[in-house]
């Protein structure tokens, strides 16, 4: 039996970064945030509430190890910081209670809201977080406190994992999916289901009908953005509106969603996937101050 040639189209680049302009040794409070999600893990280090360093990796099978790895990688980007220099670390995400070096666990919903408040400013009122497995629509106040939230229920699929499956099947690198989905003459009708399980069959069905790969991507992005739109309408979208999580990097979804909403989401230079970890580190600072 012929072996399938294994190219990993879904794989996105893992990164780490540090702000060389900051001298962490002068900082008073150094806190960490680690977001161990279903698909990816992020770590950030903050110095007196300023983003100093970060890393973004794929989550491995062993979540404590993923937490250690991602934090180590963030530390590597720094100017010689050690784990013990971090005074207080908050874990978040699916693996939040399994971060071996954390002092507290807080859910990613609270952390994303708080992180978005930092990344985009206090005017943020609605956060749409699109992660590997869950969709979350969050309403927040000017401090980044959650007022109310919704998470996907059944048939509300259309997540990062589904996008990976599609990228793999169509052999399109995942970072190109958004771009290519706009490279069509006319927007095709959305696919009928975004369920991860049937994503493949849906795509094959479209190709059978004579769709080009780009058209198929457009139909999928369109369905997913519509699904997200329906869900976010449930929490009342109030401006300013931002999108966090891995899918925020896919303009095929983001721009279609903005079209449905008739709103633009705020943009920032900070990696959208870091929102949860940033929120966690900021909570870490408050908790550390309180404990002193």
């Amino acid at each position: 039996m012929a072996e399938e040639e294994k190219k990993e189209f879904w794989r996105w680049t893992e990164t780490n970064w540090a702000n060389k302009d900051i001298d962490w040794r002068k900082g008073k409070t150094i806190t960490g945030g680690v977001d161990v999600g279903s698909v990816s893990s992020q770590a950030v280090i903050m110095v007196d509430g300023q983003l100093y360093a970060s890393a973004n990796t794929r989550t491995g099978y062993n979540s404590p190890q993923s937490a250690v790895n991602v934090m180590n990688w963030a530390l590597e980007a720094t100017d010689g910081m050690k784990l013990e220099d971090i005074k207080f670390t908050v874990g978040t995400g699916y693996g939040r209670v399994k971060v071996p070096f954390s002092n507290k666990a807080i859910t990613e919903i609270a952390c994303h809201a708080r992180g978005a408040n930092y990344m985009y400013g206090p005017s943020v009122r609605t956060v749409m977080d699109m992660g590997g497995q869950d969709l979350k629509a969050i309403r927040t106040d000017d401090k980044g406190k959650v007022l109310n939230f919704l998470m996907n229920e059944k048939c509300a699929a259309g997540t990062g994992r589904g996008m990976e499956v599609i990228a793999d099947l169509l052999q399109v690198p995942i970072v190109e999916v958004g771009e290519r989905s706009f490279d069509v003459d006319k927007e095709p009708p959305p696919v009928s289901t975004t369920c991860v399980l049937f994503a493949k069959a849906e795509m094959l069905g479209l190709l059978k009908k004579g769709y080009s790969v780009n058209q198929a991507l457009a139909a999928y992005c369109s369905a997913m953005s519509y699904r997200v739109f329906t869900m976010i309408r449930e929490v009342d979208v109030v401006e300013d509106f931002v999108i966090t999580g891995g899918i925020a990097k896919n303009r095929g979804i983001v721009e279609r969603l903005e079209g449905h909403l008739g709103l633009k989401s705020l943009k920032t230079e900070v990696d959208y996937q870091l929102a949860g970890a940033i929120g966690a580190a900021l909570f870490g600072r408050v908790l550390y101050e309180k404990q002193k």
């Binding site: 919903i109 609270a110 869950d134 406190k145 939230f149």
Partner: protein, 375 residues
Amino acid sequence: MIEDFKKIYENRHNYMKAWKAKNPDWKVLGYMCSYMPEEILYAAKVLPIRWLGGHEPQNVTEPHIMGMFCPFCRDVLAQGLLGKYDYCDAIGITHTCKHINQAYESMILHRGVDHFFIPTPSKMQDKQALPYYAGILKIFKEQLENWTGKKITEDDLKRGIAIVDENRRLMRQVYETRKADNPPISGLDSMYMVTASQMYDKQEVNKIIADVIKNELPGRKAKNDPGIRLMILGSEDDDTAFINMVENCGSSLVIDDHCTGSRYFWNTTEPGNDLMSVIADRYLKRPPCPIKDMPNRTRIPHIQGLAKEWNVAGAIVIQQKFCDPHELDKVAIVNGLKAVDVPTLYLEFDVTVPIGPFRIRVEAFLETLGSEDLF
């Protein structure tokens, strides 16, 4: 002892088998919905016990129930088809919803059991419902008499009413204690108490509850720190794993509106001359299942009242997946609670619920209720 409720719940079949051996002059009737007029059954020396699910994966109901029907009817039917309730001499339902009708029909078709169907009215608020339902209950009484071969006298009925009302009064008393800042009994144990009352002889359970009220609850604290006070409401719910998880996340469930909870026992019978009317009236006036709550929405003020009296910070609204009656009340209930500043978390239950993904939702909800100290 409070622990006894859990024992009964967890060993329901063993308890009942032992009970049956000791009470050969009684019959046992299994029912599915909390509208079953248990007074008449106690009067007839037929022990009513409620069939609840087993909360375990099964693969026997698909040939009988369509995929869009609720997990409760599926789970209950599975238990029946697997013979778990074979000690029941009959099954009975009151008309509530088609999903339960389906489980009932399938039991009759495939297990050939003796069965009783009570065509309960749905528009319980209507003044015409009382004469109708009293008449229907009289027919039911006669059917029971034919089945057991024994006349049901006025005294029998009075005795039946007394047993069931005693149970209701006692449980209401326990629920009252949960108004305390630090309640003496947890939401989980309260759920065990109500479900034990449904699945075992009330005469026995009443003794336990009376003892708990007198000897155990005074001065007791269910937890050192009760955490955030929550209400839980919605459809049938005896998902103890879920309840346990919620109470372990830093909260206490202090009040509920479930048919496995307060809806089942909230009101007692009111005095009157015609006992069938007295019994019928009690069911027409009880806190309704959404399907019976029309044309007016009486559930909303009732639930708002519970939320206020038991001083809750938030409410978890659950429903059995695909349960249309509860889905039809969802928006109204969520808005009704919002109107009195009670935030809600909405969740759908299946035969078993995935604890991990649900925990995130619950923890995040609790964070929104009490995370001021993080800002």
